[in-house]
């Protein structure tokens, strides 16, 4: 074990394919995430952000280098990670409530206890649902909800079992600007309340600056971190914050970093 950080990646490389067709997705990737931290990784599409997510969760194993999560070397899918993707991946045959119950049916020790303590678990889901403003929608099917509501439910499912690590892969990417900004605030409130460790992958610089404590900028493929910026804006941040000069400066400097690297 390298140090006390929850996540520690050192010199990680990932190559897809073999021989001449091999594509190097990430290389020389070094990243640490402290417990309870909220970090964002930004960069345009195709820079290996999604590969980074899959490496951290153990869904893909690195070609070289080492990844530790919670002090353990990652050799298989990491237990108890919460994931939320751009498209909500809620199951259309389950009600919203039943969708959010899903982690309890799989993750230990909840799986063992679920049968005996079902009502407690249902109550926990309903509490979380109402904290994101979906109090009365538990019995609705996901496809009866709007896109923004589906994404809220999706966040609930990723969080309900209190994972040691929450991975957010452009979770608000498919939403309109108003709904997106609304969900930033929902997300921040959840984090302020529960202080889980989260990694947000996004191409929206304002989103990254609003939500995270630290922003990492990724290089072109093969991806690695070229720049790290701490966001020293006090919380809770509001939509107003995003119009203050300091916030704009931060976004501007991130933008320049990306322009220099990617020539955009």
């Amino acid at each position: 074990m390298a140090n006390s950080a929850l996540v520690d990646m050192s010199d990680v490389a990932l190559t897809y394919g073999e021989g001449e067709e091999a594509i190097s997705a990430v290389e020389n990737l070094n990243l640490t995430i402290e417990k309870g931290d909220f970090v964002a990784v930004v960069g345009p599409s195709g820079c290996g952000k999604s590969s980074l997510m899959k490496l951290l969760t153990g869904l893909l194993l690195p070609t070289s280098g080492e990844i530790y999560v919670g002090g353990q070397k990652v050799t298989k899918p990491v237990d108890g990670v919460g994931m939320a993707f751009q498209n909500s991946t809620l199951m259309p045959w389950r009600t919203t409530l039943s969708n959010i119950m899903l982690p309890f049916e799989i993750v230990e020790p909840h799986k063992r206890r679920l049968r005996s303590y079902r009502s407690e678990y249902v109550a926990a889901v309903e509490r979380l649902l109402s904290s994101v403003g979906l109090g009365n929608f538990g019995q609705k099917f996901p496809w009866q909800l709007s896109g923004g509501m589906q994404q809220r439910a999706n966040l609930c499912r990723a969080l309900i079992h209190e994972p040691q690590l929450l991975m957010l892969d452009e979770p608000f990417g498919a939403l309109d600007a108003f709904t997106r900004e609304e969900l930033w605030s929902v997300m921040q409130n959840l984090w302020l309340e529960k202080r889980f460790t989260a990694m947000l992958v996004t191409h929206d610089l304002r989103e990254a600056a609003y939500l995270s404590n630290t922003v990492h900028v990724m290089s072109r493929r093969p991806g690695h971190i070229i720049h790290t910026k701490d966001i020293d804006i006090p919380r809770p941040r509001t939509l107003k914050t995003t119009f203050e000069p300091h916030f704009i400066d931060i976004v501007q400097s991130l933008r320049e970093q990306i322009s220099n690297e990617h020539g955009l």
């Binding site: 899959k54 969760t57 153990g58 869904l59 899918p77 990491v78 237990d79 108890g80 990670v81 919460g82 994931m83 993707f85 498209n87 991946t89 199951m91 259309p92 045959w93 389950r94 899903l102 982690p103 049916e105 799989i106 993750v107 230990e108 099917f141 496809w143 499912r157 079992h161 991975m167």
Partner: protein, 257 residues
């Protein structure tokens, strides 16, 4: 809406009736002899005249078809889940399945007769062998087209293969299963009637064959119409089940046939 529904209900009856009228008219106009193409009025008269005999044979056909169909659902589901869930089973078994499905089932009947004798059992087995394939293919397709993100969500929670299959795979493939049941039930009728035609002493297939050997062509056509009607009825039963079990897949849309 009610007006729309009424039209929806009446239209298929009207079209069928129009077809029969046209047929009747054409027979009359061209003076077609009834042993070549009997007019519908004669067919319906024959239907009523031989109703007891037809009833007996059609119940036999319905019985073998339903048993064969139920076996096909169980077998098709099992094979489909194996093929869809495991890449190795897919690679190993799929060519064999396609090969088997390419064999004309009428060629199998004599073999089944050697094994089990004539009558009910060959009809059931033939119905099964025609009907299981679309079920297996559709279930396998349902499993194979699970969104990778959904799989990732489950894997990152620590789900094993069995949990991924039961929590996502099976529910996800039910619309595919029910779509295939509608095809399979009509195929099952084809299977059992073929078998009855070749090797049986009861069932609609047998009745039609013996009627045609006696040149009772109206009775042959009466048999065809009964098989068609039973096919439509069983199809409708499948649609009702489909509506009940996979409402989520249609998101409340009215278009379901």
């Amino acid at each position: 809406m009610t007006r729309y529904r009424r039209i929806q209900f009446v239209t298929p009856w009207a079209v069928t009736l129009a077809l029969f009228l046209f047929w009747e008219f054409a027979c009359w106009l061209f003076n077609v002899p009834s042993f070549v193409l009997p007019q519908p009025s004669l067919i319906f008269k024959t239907l009523i005249q031989y109703r007891e005999q037809i009833w007996h044979h059609s119940m036999q056909t319905l019985f073998t078809t339903i048993i064969g169909f139920v076996l096909a659902v169980l077998g098709g589901l099992f094979i489909g889940l194996c093929v869809g869930a495991s890449r190795m089973v897919y690679i190993g078994l799929y060519p064999l399945l396609i090969g088997f499905n390419s064999i004309p089932k009428v060629a199998l009947v004599p073999i089944i007769v050697i094994w089990f004798g004539i009558g009910t059992i060959p009809a059931i087995i033939t119905a099964f062998s025609v009907a299981f394939f679309p079920i297996a293919v559709n279930v396998a397709t349902g499993l194979a087209t699970i969104e990778p993100e959904m799989r990732d969500v489950l894997r990152s929670l620590g789900a094993n293969q069995w949990e991924i299959l039961t929590k996502v795979g099976i529910p996800r493939s039910t619309p595919y299963l029910f779509a295939s049941l509608k095809i399979a039930i009509t195929l099952a009728f084809i299977g059992s009637v073929i078998s009855e035609t070749v090797a049986s002493n009861q069932g609609i297939g047998y009745m039609m064959l013996s009627a045609s050997s006696r040149f009772e062509v109206p009775l042959v056509f009466a048999g065809l119409i009964v098989v068609g009607a039973m096919g439509i009825a069983m199809y409708a039963v499948c649609v009702i089940f489909e509506k009940r079990m996979t409402r989520w897949a249609f998101r409340g849309s009215e278009l379901l046939t």
